[in-house]
Symmetry: D2
Subunit: 241 residues, 4 copies
Amino acid sequence: MPIRVTVWSENYHEPREPDVRRRYPDGIHGAIAAGLAERLGERVRVRTAVLADPEHGLSDKELADTDVLTWWGHMSHEDVADEVVARVRRRVLGGMGLLVLHSGHYSKIFRALMGTTCSLNWRDAGERELVWTVAPGHPIAAGVPHPLIIGEQETYGEPFGIPQPDELVFISSFSGGEVFRSGCCYRRGKGSVFYFSPGDQNYPVYHNPEVRRVLANAVLWAAPAGGVGEPLDNAHTPIRW
Amino acid sequence: MPIRVTVWSENYHEPREPDVRRRYPDGIHGAIAAGLAERLGERVRVRTAVLADPEHGLSDKELADTDVLTWWGHMSHEDVADEVVARVRRRVLGGMGLLVLHSGHYSKIFRALMGTTCSLNWRDAGERELVWTVAPGHPIAAGVPHPLIIGEQETYGEPFGIPQPDELVFISSFSGGEVFRSGCCYRRGKGSVFYFSPGDQNYPVYHNPEVRRVLANAVLWAAPAGGVGEPLDNAHTPIRW
Amino acid sequence: MPIRVTVWSENYHEPREPDVRRRYPDGIHGAIAAGLAERLGERVRVRTAVLADPEHGLSDKELADTDVLTWWGHMSHEDVADEVVARVRRRVLGGMGLLVLHSGHYSKIFRALMGTTCSLNWRDAGERELVWTVAPGHPIAAGVPHPLIIGEQETYGEPFGIPQPDELVFISSFSGGEVFRSGCCYRRGKGSVFYFSPGDQNYPVYHNPEVRRVLANAVLWAAPAGGVGEPLDNAHTPIRW
Amino acid sequence: MPIRVTVWSENYHEPREPDVRRRYPDGIHGAIAAGLAERLGERVRVRTAVLADPEHGLSDKELADTDVLTWWGHMSHEDVADEVVARVRRRVLGGMGLLVLHSGHYSKIFRALMGTTCSLNWRDAGERELVWTVAPGHPIAAGVPHPLIIGEQETYGEPFGIPQPDELVFISSFSGGEVFRSGCCYRRGKGSVFYFSPGDQNYPVYHNPEVRRVLANAVLWAAPAGGVGEPLDNAHTPIRW
């Protein structure tokens, strides 16, 4: 049975900025979806959803049909409805996998799940990013070159206001000297969360075959082995033994 | 310079329930404060605050005078004002230490900082709790007997809906067979958070000298070595090198 | 392509003790291998090896044909040749998965990979073990009952002299009151290591369908996504950028 | 009572290489010891020991008088007697703090405690190292500038063949683009271990006041709160409850 993936994006830049549209004619979500389909074939069933869709394309029904959700947002974080965020969070804590991408670090859903500021330092100077693997046995790093080279990128720098990852897979450096924990794994409730920083509207990062490999590996890692159910809850328990 | 500790409690049970008042004539907060003073002497300056105080005793000014805050709540979680929770969270992310105690697992502040349900299984059957040290080199475990025996206690059981601790110090068992991660360390932003589960209004746990030792150790561990400042925030950074 | 599993056991008790032989007529290794085959079918190709085999059944050629190795030992830890241990360690650091079972906690290979004493407290009193899941989203816990009940077992107790696991999946309690970190995940070099404590020659634990489920899940988790190669090594690196 | 610190160094380069002697007229150990005394004053009692001393200056008696040991080695790793390594390891597992510095990554003692290759990539090209804090609430980072700038340094690069640290405090970048986990905390047995990579015989790193601050912070962090005793060991335990 294929893993059901929903690729979500705010789709803010694409209709407004011609150069972004040229770079991502099917949207950032389209490029991400194409990369997953290309890498994973019949192992996944991919659909896309955007902010403008009814309920942002994340209705109860649509989430119930999703095993792994990928999240890209930048300008519209505050436009995401709180009730949709609560619904997504509930689904993650119930077992759904979540991939948070690039500027999604500051999305409501990531901040709600992490509990910290999720803030970072940044500049947009077309610097070269090198993504180094620090967990060579982790499945998300399988087959990924060391370093993965991204010619031009927005720069993200520490301190990154996140909890220490349960497993840290990648650390990036930028030509300006910054470092960034660019690949971070978390278990939260019954769900698995992976944050991956490379990717921006101003650079063709989601066409990079090695970035696509990372995302594909991450979908496999985050897919719920035990299915998705209800989040944990308080329960009064009798003495049983 | 002494560590400035604020011991906070909702103080719900004490005025309403004679047996709790008999057990904790100075309130649960009073017993915790006395234990810290007893163990740490001039290394700390302890004050107490309760829900009924103006701004719950956690005004900007009072928080600015606090290095480590301990939190006990049970019936009144929802009565804690959201703006006070936001203020405390901000102070923790800026460096203040936070000790969350027992039923404080379900407080707004703990849930906001953890991002998960923080739920658990429970029953109140006067069972014996054994607190086992699993990190014998951790400073919070210094001098603590293995196991620390609590004759009668409310039972807490897994699954405990928390992120995996950065360092797990204690695991408890109960006579009914349950286990519980009873001593959990987290770094969040610039602050350090310790959750410790033993302690209940119906049992004299905060008079136990070994429980007091754990709390004293935890205050020393959570005290901000680098002082308390602003939480991390996004920042645009120039190229400097 | 199936995961190639080698199930290793010292096979000390079986030929010497009739009741162990009755319990495990095909050896402890036989029962473990049967459980994996039963649960995983064509996803694995399982073979067994024992101490008495030439090179303990772990020659270079045999290891080169192994993706995941499971290790059971008790009386004969010191009889395992150091060069075989070095070879297995090299293969793990190069990417092979390793499952260390029960009294294997004190094997040369586990101690070499952990760097600590790997010691524990124990008694053999036929106590009931309850295996509680503390990482409900971890793939090794998929489908495992909470708690997993083992009617009679050797008791293992903390402190367990291991490094804090990268991910802690299970904690056990015993009727005598002890707790034990019974399911522990580690990444070491390019390889993944899982320690699982239930299982003993004196109890039919490896016939338990839920224990078999855990071992099957663990084989899938530990299988090297990126294949097995050489361990990491020091390297002089030119400036490349 | 002051923390008793032993600063150990192989002292290989200093007597052989005039420029190293000029840089470190009292030896690398002398510079490290001076830095600790300067930063910590009466909180520590510092002595030094070198490879050429009887029993390398690490006799049973000398170790019994040591709360925290710092280790610097490079050319002479293999000349350190195995029995001294075993003795130091035993003392660490019993509670002594250990700071492993720079090329000490490949010392027998660090490799024995980590269980992995502890290998890395390197070159000596006088590159600029930036040490970024990723755990701003950790006591070892207290007061350390972000980034800490070291004008010229040997370059160390990932993959660093270590277990994932219990707490990762610093990540460095180098002008050549490499990244390195340069500040890593581990609990091992009852002892605390900190690895810190900046520091080399060819650069005056141990005269840098901010590097000295890190080392001083690390001594405070690693000092055994509960004293030093015997390592954990297997023990047969009766039923007590």
